[in-house]
């Protein structure tokens, strides 16, 4: 896309975002969803969880009211910090998604990926 200087946040689940996944790249633009487990007001680092997976989010550029226990969605770029290869998403936008059906969301995400793959295959064949 010539005119847009920002990238689309690729949809990923927190479970998929481990150090061995192809999405786990420095600077990758991602969209993540999860429940706020804790929030450090001084560092503005929030931790969101989805099942057993978690991710740190740098929320310093957001003017979002963060409440522990609520569900949030963030779009931003992944920064991988050394030495422990830990990912932190530097969020550009965030929103409260309390009421989201996460099961349906994850299922729909799979359907969306299948659809995209089918469409792209159809174009090249």
């Amino acid at each position: 896309m010539a005119s847009s200087s920002i990238s689309s946040g690729a949809l990923v689940t927190l479970q998929e975002l481990n150090s061995s996944s192809p999405q786990f790249r420095q600077g990758a633009s991602l969209r993540v969803t999860g429940k706020l487990q804790d929030y450090n007001v001084e560092t503005a680092i929030a931790t969101i969880v989805d099942g057993s997976a978690s991710l740190k989010i740098d929320t310093q550029h957001l003017s979002l009211n963060l409440r522990v226990g609520s569900f949030y969605q963030f779009i931003g770029e992944l920064h991988i910090q050394q030495p422990n290869n830990e990912g932190v998403l530097k969020a550009r936008v965030g929103r409260n998604v309390d009421g989201i059906d996460l099961n349906l969301y994850n299922q729909s995400l799979q359907l969306l990926r299948e659809f995209q793959a089918d469409q792209i295959n159809a174009r090249t064949s």
């Binding site: 896309m1 010539a2 005119s3 847009s4 920002i6 990238s7 689309s8 946040g9 690729a10 949809l11 969209r31 957001l62 979002l64 569900f71 969605q73 779009i75 550009r92 936008v93 965030g94 929103r95 409260n96 998604v97 309390d98 009421g99 989201i100 059906d101 349906l104 969301y105 729909s108 359907l111 969306l112 659809f115 995209q116 469409q119 174009r123």
Partner: protein
């Protein structure tokens, strides 16, 4: 399929961005051979650039790509509108200004408009903006786009 030409076709961003211009008609864009002129997108507003009195440019990110949108705000000064009934022009201008005021970063918007191209980049020239608050609305939009594509938009009618 003429029926799709006058409707706001629900397209995922990756699909929208692959539309190709039809050389003989600047208002038409082809999706696998089917001519379209209008589309609907739904996603998170991730950029916002206001040129006061002229336009508001913004981006809608639906998870599959980013659709550039342009909302014109220049109706009162534009020669294009100078021959129209002034009270109509004021109304259009007022509605556009209202849309501009509700578009904010991080909100989910349903945007409808005409498919246009600017310097080779495909974009949406906005006619309607609705801010959506339901957290499950994006899921619904994805599923609707998939269903409509598979059952309707992809189905090429046989020539008679």
């Amino acid at each position: 399929m003429e029926v799709l030409y006058n409707t706001h076709v629900k397209l995922l961003a990756f699909d929208f961005l692959s539309l190709t211009p039809i050389p003989s008609d600047p208002t038409s864009f082809s999706r696998k051979g089917t001519p379209l002129s209008r589309a609907e997108t739904l996603g998170i507003i991730t950029t916002r650039e206001l040129k006061s009195g002229k336009f508001l440019k913004f981006t809608v990110d639906d998870g599959t790509g980013c659709i550039p949108c342009i909302l014109w705000l220049n109706q009162l000064n534009s020669p294009y509108f100078s021959r129209r009934n002034p009270s109509d022009v004021r109304l259009i201008s007022s509605v556009s200004a209202d849309f501009a005021s509700i578009i904010k970063l991080g909100l989910v918007a349903r945007v409808r408009g005409r498919i246009t191209a600017y310097r080779g980049t495909i974009q949406l020239t906005v006619s309607t903006v609705i801010i959506e608050r339901d957290p499950n609305i994006e899921i619904l939009h994805w599923l609707e786009c998939i269903k409509l594509a598979r059952r309707f938009y992809d189905v090429v009618p046989s020539r008679k």
